[in-house]
Symmetry: C2
Subunit: 517 residues, 2 copies
């Protein structure tokens, strides 16, 4: 029998949804049965819904195709919401299937009843299904909504009876929308502004592909403009083979200083730069007050920034960018305790070609992006787009399953990693090729910096306790073992190098706890 659940899943499969990151409950059982019976869609269990949504984000960032998630009513969705927030900010296509009580049951306000649409609405597109007859059409609708462009989070709220009742024939359609071209006036105007001198370009979205980065370098060489990348990009090509532009600094005073001399700022796949947080007496806008802002490629309109930059380079008659790849950084272990710099040097020396580096390493990760990533072998970097920590390990899982021929390095802050550490188990279960490097500084370092910035020179015991992750020390090797993953702990750059070589020589996941001094 074709149930509504079959109609839903089969339509999604035909539309190109090849994986479901799932943590279902009773109200999703008919979808579980459909997933079970339909070949061609992979099912991955997460022990917590934040693992599922973050993995879907990672999958889709690497493939451009939406992954689905399957979660249990409002509370299940709530547990996955933080990583959906990150996916929204990354403009990643994600399709959520959220079971709900049977339509006739909702009025009784059973214990698990809640306002699911209020939650899904906060992260993107929502459709609430009311009849099994809708199930095929709604499924395709969600995939199309997710693909955009721009990509977005699309949620279907699916009452249990709409799953178990007879459903329609699945639809056979595979939407493959392309990014849009920017209007031809936009590169012309950008060229005019940059020729005027003291210009700058901020890169985001597809401007951070190899094509986009090389085009930006040509524009910079032709006009002398400054180029910055978004502070927290969704996906960026990095390494010795591409131009290494500085990221716009995280702290607003540093970002304002970087942009201080810019009189016109061209936005290529990025929005106007604004402070991550407001501070007393500091502006929210990071570009100087008098500067002209010009949108070369609007990411919220699904415009291809790489093509727009290429058009801009052509408009400028910019010659092809010069220069061979940068030399590989030599690595000689110092034997000293690890700090963010020596950790980054060791990582850069041993990051394998074509790796995917998921960077949720917080303060250590900012040093990596600023200094070391550009000296490493060619790799793809996935960033924490929405500031909702706990994205790194799940996204690494999803990226690894999407790209089984590439090594994933989960470059992970310890505080953030503890949000969704359950991802380690799914990595072990799926034999995902993920090398987890936990930067264990055993504190919320960014908050200690923020306390200093707030003028708290000598925090008392309660403020210190809120930023300190010792008492007791967290043993990541034991946590990894608990989830079935081999692990080791290192304290020097030489030990880290050895551990990386060992980990990268083997298939499947392992974890390196890099204890920072």
């Amino acid at each position: 029998m074709t149930t509504g659940a079959y109609s839903l899943v089969d339509t999604a499969l035909r539309a190109g949804v090849e994986v479901c990151f799932a943590n279902p409950g009773t109200t999703e059982m008919p979808i579980v049965v459909a997933l079970d019976r339909l070949a061609g869609i992979r099912v991955v269990l997460g022990l917590f819904e934040g693992v599922c949504t973050g993995a879907a984000d990672g999958w889709a960032r690497m493939t451009g195709r939406p992954a689905s998630t399957l979660v249990h009513l409002g509370p299940g969705l709530a547990n996955g919401l933080a990583n959906l927030h990150n996916a929204r900010r990354a403009r990643t296509p994600v399709v959520n299937w959220i079971g709900d009580h049977a339509t006739r049951h909702r009025a009784f306000d059973a214990p698990l009843t809640s306002d699911i649409a209020a939650l899904t609405g906060s992260v993107g597109w929502t459709r609430t299904i009311t009849s099994a007859r809708e199930m095929a059409e709604a499924s395709l609708d969600a995939v199309e909504a997710a693909l955009g462009p721009p990509g977005r989070v699309a949620s279907l709220i699916i009452p249990a009876d709409c799953q178990w009742e007879p459903g329609p024939e699945p639809l056979s359609s595979r939407p493959s929308p392309s990014l849009r071209e920017t209007p031809s006036s936009a590169p012309r105007e950008a060229a005019r502004l940059l020729r005027g001198g003291r210009g700058g370009i901020l890169l985001g979205g597809t401007a951070l592909t190899e094509l986009g980065l090389h085009a930006a370098a040509r524009v910079a060489a032709a006009t002398g403009c400054g180029v910055w990348t978004e502070t927290f990009p969704a996906r960026q090509e990095c390494g010795r083979h591409v131009p290494g532009f500085p990221a716009l600094p995280y702290f607003p005073e540093q970002a304002c200083e970087a942009l201080a001399n810019v009189t016109s700022l061209v936005l290529a796949g990025a929005r106007e730069p604004v402070a991550f947080f407001a501070y007393p007496g500091r502006p929210s806008r990071l570009a100087p007050g008098g500067a002209t802002l010009h949108t070369l490629a609007d990411p919220d309109a699904g415009v291809d920034a790489a093509l727009a930059l290429a058009a801009l380079a052509q408009e400028l008659d910019a010659p092809a960018a010069a220069g061979p790849p940068r030399a590989m950084a030599a690595f000689a272990p110092s034997g000293r305790p690890l700090d963010p710099d020596s950790l980054g040097r060791a990582m850069a020396a041993f990051t394998p070609e074509a790796a995917i580096v998921v960077n949720e390493a917080a303060t250590t990760g900012l040093v990596w992006s600023a200094v070391h990533a550009s000296t490493a072998a060619p790799h793809t970097m996935l960033g924490l787009t929405g500031g909702a920590i706990g994205q790194g390990l799940p996204t690494a899982l999803g990226a690894a399953l999407a790209c089984p021929d590439r090594r994933v390095i989960a470059f992970q802050a310890d505080g953030s990693g503890l949000y969704t550490l359950q991802a380690l188990w799914s990595m072990a279960r799926e034999s995902a090729d993920v090398t987890v490097v936990v930067c264990a500084n055993r504190r919320y370092r960014i908050l200690q910096i923020e306390l200093e910035r707030a003028g708290i020179a000598e925090p008392g015991p309660k403020a210190l306790a809120l930023t300190d992750l010792t008492r007791p020390v967290i043993d990541w090797t034991a946590l990894a073992k608990g989830f079935g993953m081999p692990a080791c702990s290192v304290r020097t750059d030489g030990e880290l190098a050895d551990a990386l070589v060992r980990a990268l020589a083997e298939r499947g996941p392992s974890l390196i706890e890099a204890v920072l001094a």
Copy 2:
């Protein structure tokens, strides 16, 4: 200087908020500073917000006073939302302090911006602060909203500038509302109905106190009516010293069968019983179609069900309930592999007097409630009210800190426990007297039952994978060690008894992994 943050925290402290379960970020730094400087309010760090909200629920269930939480913008709140859903269903007073971007910064849609009020609205009362001048009055407003009656989740959305700008003098008011009395007509009508024969009473809320349970027993003795307790009570007195009524069964066909002969059902602190989930061809309402439902004490109106039952007993001239406490169940270890029954017998034998048993043991916990809890020493049971799993460990943490002179037993299903296992670290850090008993059946047993009920006699590999927690086996002793907690693993009832005796003899937390056959 009195900042808005000081006004907020000091007012809450004077209103009786003695603890803050916190996971703050940059937008909450002024509140962190205020917590740091104000003596009298305890601050407990959770590594994940679901730990904070669940702990606040546990604290408030035991004290009747609200705990506060401090979380970071929309994503931080989202991570705590599932346990706030449970608190809402428990009618627990909880006050959430949620930092937001500075008022002038919101328009810029910085990465962490989201619709926080949409989320808080789904679990209760919300107020969005717009000026530091409001901070004292809003703080008191939230405490009053949380206290009710009935208790509820009250959320303040607090822009960073309202925290750091000068605030008003704190208010000095300590609201202590009492539960309401039921109208005098309600016990009269209940008496009339129950005298008619074939009556039943469903107990919830304060009907599950010692006073309420004894009154219910008097009513039952006088009228011959049936008595059931809510399936998932917020708080219930249990043990040999109180009448042991059956819980209304979880599965609707069993619940309907239990109530089949009832012609009038008196609701004492409980709502009309409805199925936890709908199933094809089964009713949502559990009482027979023709039965009269009578509300003796409406929990949503904050009515005291224990007093109402006492009034009902008086109305019936019911004599004092007879009988001494039940005898203690003898325990002799069988030496056989653990199953839910032998596990429950060992637990019942060694549960110490005045323990708090937090029951999130799912299928194993249902056996405990039905069979073993009434044979144990007098104890208080806290249940999973909203079905959002991951409540047990955090609630155990909060209950232990609220009641430092009582032992907490976190009776925990393994699948549910993995949702918020980070609570183990806070237990270790705070030296909380919690004995965690993980019922490790290594599967989502309830979902395997639901697959059977859905007619899936032979699930395929994908459906099996979604209900199976082996591949790899999760090692709870390693997870506990990772979070700094001593742990052991047991496989027989004798080993469990020995482990319980050892654990209960020492202060501070420890974990027992009880592997079920």
